[in-house]
Symmetry: C3
Subunit: 446 residues, 3 copies
């Protein structure tokens, strides 16, 4: 597969990648994850693929046995093959142990999962840490099952192996890092989750296309929960030391809404940037609280870890009916949905890259007229553009970062880039090169 | 009198005690206070009764002469005895000097007090620091008085004696104190005031029934204003050093509403606890400001004293029509009203006792499943109870006390006690044993 | 001219002064400013008049050549004299270079300014820093101009000279300063601007009439923008060191509304005082943000200067239709408008002068009764006046300045002066004589 970096085609390219990844049966371990990461590696060869052996202790957790599956189905009393893994990998409870036996409908029912409230949907069910087997099917299909003798067959393997994850580091001018995390453990579902790794991959391509970056970017493609715990157990010291901002990228594929889930602290630079961007591109975005969390911010923001990780999402996990069912499919996600999320997150990264603490370089207002930046005739109503310029100069006092100035003057930060660069060229503004911990202090001014 | 500690009968027991205390003519000094305190001592022999001599200098004040009264009445021109002290001790202006003489209706009227707006009520009038005499009667009765010769008789005594108060210290594991103050100077009125000493007595009995207490409890039964000034003048240094939280207990007898009056600082631990409890047990409670104060918080919260004293009340003094009249009687106060206040204040003390700063004992979320605290199968909607558990773990970072966590997750602190104890038993939570000054710092997180 | 200090006539006296100053053609330099300042000097001989030579470097600016004008007009093809400077000095673009030549209507039109949206108004147009010439006239008149040969004549001079400003220092008990700035550069307009120097002159007369002042007052009468830049470039170090509060006095002549524009910091003592006064005298006042600025606070509040300068105004520049046209005249401004502004600013100065940090001089409430400050009989409802007294005592803890107490108890500070003085006479309150930097800290309590 060849993906063009032309922005016009980026939404289609993301959707094609999603279509290619969709059929793979992923889990928290196993070949599904490896195949997925290798496809991403075709686009970005710099992605490193790491393996962590089963049994490895990670904080309070242990890497489980690796799970792989080749086939699974049920044969009905009339000989029909149903709940066929090859038709949908959601038909098998994820991490099912192998089984091959006959049983009655009554016995079978203890191993079946369906959703009466969504009779046409196959639910997504997992049992990572307790050995069982099971099948998922639509409630409509389940109701048609007749008493009799059923054969259940799951050709899976659960044995010592490893947990697989991908890692990409894109160097910048400083060692301070922007951390992006997304997960590759969900089987055939589209918004939650394939949209995350797809959009993240294209953000990485954009970052790599830049001539330079202020920050170093660390991007991980991991299984959810156990993957972030594994990654943190290996890297939390350097993460705590280096990560300046970060986003957990999930549920970024549909086009129904935008939403935001804050970090645990709630007002980190990541939160400020996320709110700033969403306010300007989708004013009616939904703001959740940290109590509504459910993805890897549970680990990244846990006590003692405390990374500044926020989530910019479309329809959030757990809030839309299609969530964790076969209805979260390639119809639910759209090229426009993916591309809107890509743009939103790209603006977040632009805000982080361009945010800075500026100092006006003279006392009093500078005489802009003599530099051709101000009209030479005094009339009744100065223009909005001039007012923005005067406001940037007035608030560049070393106590406001550019983000807080953009907030004050109700203008997207990315629309101030040209203006700021012009004022810098005229030596009217200068950047305070203190490191970011100083900028973090500025939160109080927002 | 024998009072059972059975909670089912506690509301009736409080009401019986109120009925027994109601007829006594109390004032800021004199035998009425002593009789009252001795009745409380029957229930709690540990109460110490202290006497402070008349003439003792206390800050800007002086303990006045002691007042005692045996009888008082008016004889009308037709020989009828009215305004009879033995019928209602409100008939005499409290602290009246003795008198025995004849006078005209016109002269008498200068010494009469009634309430045209409440024609059936006898008002409660005092003149502690200026020698006068007077009678209070219903406005209806006053209007029937005919011209003629009246005889007024007050058999009172005003002479050097002492001011009496009761004090009870219930030791705890630390020297830090919870300070409860209530007043015993009002004659026959029920909500303001007899409800205070009655409910306080039963809270003391509950505290004494506990196997142990984190805090030491200091409880005073004093006359209002002069009593708190006397007590402060004797103990303010140790109070300032030891008191961690406190409540002024007044107007806790009726069942019309709940209300809250903050400390002067407004956000002490006492205030936080009072708001937390009332929000959960009576969401429509009335919140007053410190400017609406009128009881002993006037002294406890004065500049340089600054004790963290808040008031959890039913109908606040000064706000209900029956206030400071004969209508604030045993009908206005109910067993249910007393018991609701008892429960509210008991929850306040529980919150103080159980509040603590907790630390989650691992990085990342603990694996609750292997401890039987989490379901082994992943489905779409985790339960509220599980979410509370995860939230307590997520916020136990050493920067939030349990009270602020309870506020965040909108659950009464006392409903988290079992959950916290379970997590402690599994070594997932540990208490930070820093003393309370640390906890006070946490106010900012609320 | 003789002006009486009698307050009853002050509104008329201000209006007379305005009438006298109105016809003078002022600009940022030139004799118009000198004549104006000399008239003010008749009232206050202590005003010093300073000259700053053309070419002087001031921060990023240079004092321009001095501009003077004797005459200007246009002769129409029919020989009619229009746009006559002697009829209205607004007819000439302020700072026009000299011209005397003939041209066609088409050529002339490039030098004409009118307002189609206000067809009867002559606009006010300036070109201080770019050499051009031009005429301003009503749009109605402009539309009547017929094609043909026009003669334009401007008898002006632009040459090295100086910029003129007035300065008045009224000494106080401390070196800390209240800084008042107003501008004298506008030609015949009334609200913006002549009202500023007129009201400021009378505030200065009031200040000089006081037996003593806590603060030193520094008052400047300057041309706008370049004048404040000149003044700051000469005095910013001492201003930064000494100025405790300040007001930029502009647009204080009409009676349509009151408005307020904050300092850049937004919560300085000047801002607190301005809001306090306006809330009490005109509750519906308009509150602008610093982004709406347009006068000399642009310089006084610039980064690195950061003076606490707020603006208490009537109809703000730029917001009313008559602004910067011939309609901002002596009908738009009224004696009542001037006098209301005078009172508002006078209250601001009173608040600054009387604001102080007080300490209650005893523990607990003082016994006011024995001092005759409290009724000797206890009844149901204490008076509002008594409650204010108790509240002032309760909050005089050294952490609240009197202004924050006045805010808390919702009473104008100037109505607490007698009460505070009474409590001081009884030695119940004492002033904390720390200097103002301490008081500034108190902002957080408001």
């Amino acid at each position: 597969m060849k993906i063009k970096h032309d922005e016009c085609t980026i939404s289609q390219d993301m959707y094609y990648l999603m279509e290619r990844l969709f059929p793979i049966c992923r889990s928290i371990t196993g070949d599904g994850v490896r195949i997925t990461l290798n496809i991403l590696k075709e686009l970005i060869p710099e992605i490193a693929i790491n393996e962590v052996p089963s049994g490895t202790q990670c904080f309070d957790w242990t890497v489980p046995d690796e799970w792989n599956i080749k086939d699974a189905y049920i044969i009905t009393p009339t000989g029909e093959k149903i709940a066929d893994f090859k038709v949908s990998n959601l038909h098998v409870v994820n991490y099912s142990e192998p089984v091959d036996r006959s049983l009655t409908l009554e016995e079978l029912n203890k191993h079946l999962y369906s959703l009466p409230e969504l009779p046409h949907a196959i639910p997504y069910v997992t049992s990572y840490y307790y050995r069982r087997w099971g099948f998922c099917l639509t409630d409509q299909q389940r109701k048609q099952l007749q008493p009799g003798n059923y054969r259940v067959y799951i050709d899976s393997a659960l044995k010592a192996g490893s947990l697989t994850y991908g890692e990409l580091v894109i160097p910048g001018e400083t060692r301070e890092e922007i951390f992006l995390s997304t997960y590759v453990c969900h089987p055939s579902m589209a918004n939650n989750e394939l949209s995350g790794p797809v959009v993240t991959t294209f953000l990485a391509l954009w970052l790599m296309s830049l001539p330079k970056r202020r920050y170093t970017y660390r991007i991980v493609f991991i299984p959810e929960t156990i993957g972030s715990i594994v990654y943190l157990s290996q890297h939390h010291k350097e993460l705590k030391q280096n990560v300046y901002a970060g986003f957990n990228i999930t549920c970024v594929g549909d086009q129904q809404t935008f939403s935001y889930l804050p970090s645990r602290q709630g007002n980190t630079i990541s939160d400020r940037v996320a709110r700033h961007v969403l306010k300007h591109i989708f004013p009616n975005y939904l703001e959740y609280t940290f109590r509504d969390r459910g993805s890897d911010e549970r680990q990244y923001c846990s006590p003692g870890i405390d990374l500044p990780m926020a989530s910019v999402m479309r329809s959030k996990y757990g809030t839309y009916p299609e969530y964790h069912t076969s209805l979260d499919n390639l119809n639910f996600v759209t090229p426009e949905g993916l591309s809107g999320s890509y743009t939103a997150l790209l603006h977040c990264l632009q805000c982080l890259e361009f945010n800075q603490i500026l100092h006006t370089q003279c006392y009093g207002e500078p005489q802009l007229g003599k530099r051709g930046l101000y009209p030479t005739i005094g009339v009744r109503n100065p223009q909005k553009r001039l007012r923005d310029m005067m406001d940037v100069l007035a608030y560049s006092d070393g106590n406001h970062d550019l983000l807080s100035i953009a907030e004050k003057i109700e203008t997207p930060l990315w629309e101030l880039i040209t203006l700021v660069n012009t004022l810098k060229e005229h030596n009217l503004l200068n950047e305070n090169k203190y490191h970011n911990s100083t900028m973090t202090v500025m939160n109080e001014y927002v």
